[in-house]
């Protein structure tokens, strides 16, 4: 600003737009980098334990865990990721980013192979083909006959998760469609009741549910747990399905019915295919939830032929954690893998679920 003159500056200096733009770009980039760095920092406590689990499962030898592998692994991976991220931030060119990614992963793989390659082994995964792993480690006298093969637990878990998912899909889509499309007496009261059940924590009912299963003879059966798990999450899935049905324009149903379809045919052949995304989302979510269930199965499944994966892992860790880290970590990796794969590959379906009508 011109302070000296009597008159304000007649001609303001033309702003240097290029410099301003450059400064804005730099500020923006700095702000974004800071945010990314902060996010990375707060995410370390999550990423590192998972990495540690994988490292233990691949390197631990009976009794000992080598911490060296963890830190040499980090020493290679962290700089590689940082360099790649920096390149990613600096250049908008897709080709350069791709090249940088390939080069950094190649360098990382070679370095990892050279540094820790000799420590890696798969012996901890021998529980997959050796059904008596706990007996082998703890001697037959202490652990004889207690542990089923991991595949029995795997099969039970799969049966539980799949059947529970099937029930939820069928029941929730029928009910969701009905409350989305039909007018009936008491609809409002029913919806309000479902909302209360949806918000209501079913965990508090574990004692009476245990007794009811005991009285009807379903205690310690996969079928009993399946019915319970399907029911306590049902209100949530009914609302999710209602949301998807609400999104289907009613004209297509109307035109199906003017063409002579009955209401049920219209539901089955016209509307249901339109909510395919919703069905997949509900199925994936329900499967993951049943796969990870612990408290209810812990309380309601007792005999070891009924163990699911969570119980198998729990008892394995309870029994041999002090003796052999490696097996426990390997079982964990084996158990967590299906959930994670489903989650990673079906994420775009899961993000489409909305819990109907949160104001905002």
């Amino acid at each position: 600003m011109d302070v000296g003159g009597a008159l304000p500056a007649v001609k303001a200096p033309r702003p240097d737009w290029l410099a301003l733009a450059r400064r804005a770009r730099i500020t923006r980039r700095a702000a974004q980098s800071t945010l990314l760095a902060v996010l990375l920092l707060v995410s370390i406590p999550i990423i590192l334990p998972y990495f540690w689990m994988v490292v233990i499962s691949l390197t631990a030898r009976s009794g000992g865990v080598s911490t060296r592998v963890l830190w040499s692994g980090c020493a290679v991976i962290v700089p590689a990721v940082l360099i790649y991220t920096t390149i990613h931030v600096l250049t908008p060119s897709r080709r350069l980013r791709l090249v940088a990614g390939v080069v950094m992963s190649a360098i990382g793989a070679v370095l990892l192979g050279a540094l820790v390659g000799t420590d890696l082994h798969f012996a901890n995964y021998r529980f997959l083909w050796n059904p008596n792993i706990v007996e082998e480690i703890r001697s037959k006298a202490t652990a004889g006959g207690q542990f089923p093969s991991v595949w029995i637990a795997f099969r039970n878990s799969l049966a539980l998760a799949l059947s529970q998912t099937a029930i939820i899909l069928a029941v929730a889509s029928l009910a969701g469609y009905y409350i989305s499309r039909f007018a009936f007496r008491g609809r409002e009261a029913f919806l309000q009741g479902m909302l209360v059940l949806h918000a209501f924590p079913a965990m508090t009912l574990i004692i009476p549910i245990f007794l009811i299963l005991h009285w009807v003879g379903l205690l310690d059966t996969i079928a009993g747990v399946m019915l319970v798990l399907a029911t306590i999450e049902l209100p949530f899935y009914v609302f999710v399905m209602k949301g998807f049905f609400d999104g289907v324009p009613w004209d297509i149903e109307m035109s199906a019915m003017t063409d002579g379809a009955t209401r049920r045919q219209a539901f089955w052949m016209v509307v249901l295919p339109h909510v395919r995304v919703g069905l997949i989302a509900v199925a994936v979510f329900a499967f993951i939830r049943a796969w990870e269930e612990y408290i209810f199965v812990r309380t309601m499944l007792i005999e070891n032929k009924n163990w699911v994966m969570s119980l198998y892992l729990f008892w394995v860790s309870d029994d041999i954690m002090g003796v052999d880290y490696g097996i426990v970590a390997a079982v964990s990796v084996f158990y967590v893998l299906p959930s994670l794969l489903l989650y990673v590959f079906c994420q775009r379906y899961l993000t489409q679920m909305t819990i109907g009508g949160i104001r905002g």
């Binding site: 902060v38 334990p49 029913f190 729990f314 990673v344 104001r359 905002g360």
Partner: protein, 306 residues
Amino acid sequence: MPDFARAQLNRQRANLALFLGPALVLLACFFIAPVVVDLALAFTNMDRTLAVTAFTLENFERMATRDSRLLASLGITAVFVLSTLAIFNVTFALLLALMTTAVPRAAGAFFRAVWLLPRMSPSVVYALLWAWVVDPNERGLLNQILVHVLGAAPVDLRNNAPMLVIILANGFIGASLGMIIFTSAIRSIPEHLFHAARADGAGSLAIVRHIIFPALRWPISYMTIHQTLSLLVSFEYILLITGGGPFYDTTVFSLYAYRRAFENGQYAYGAALSLILIVIGVVAALLMWRLMDMRRLLQPPRIEVH
């Protein structure tokens, strides 16, 4: 009644039974019936023999006058719920939502996926990860960092600060739900508001304060009630990580009811304790229900042909 009207009524009933029947049956058997059973059970003397021999008010008398451990567990519950909620489930969730929406889309999605990882992993695995992190010997992840990087002495968090461990473990999971809800609320703010604010010279903080926060008022109050309730009743990770111990030091109220029933075989007493949680649950559910968008939810359907 004319025939066609009767036929239509019959069809309406058949549709009701077909579409809503399965859900009603399941909910009646495993949701409504347990509430009734719990209510009745609380007034009995059922023990580990699972037989009821008398109806009594003893459980409530014991709760009110004779159970000193109950009081302690209420204190533990208050500390646990309030700190987890205040630090992680609301505040940190909000920070995560703000940060991941401010960085490029792909990076934001990546970090949200990372934070959802604990929620998607089986609880037993997640608890084991914590066991390996706070392992008191020198192999524990935390101790490796403390000893080798910071040069400090190894610590035994599980025995010396068990509350800290369960707050952190629950918080790392709890933050993700709020993060998702808040993120979608931020995303639904019209883009032009941000541009207008920028053009008016608002800085980032002013945008957060005057544009994002007003839009988050309802989601935040909803999440606060929802998460209070779920922290109040969930004891899965506590049971897995500390087992409620050492001794009863991390036994929150819901875990206390569970341990009374399934460890000590006092089913009736456990049911009486759960009854309190059930009442709290119903009240909170009704409260949340006020916060939902009822008008949209109860909107009448548009075709009524059966």
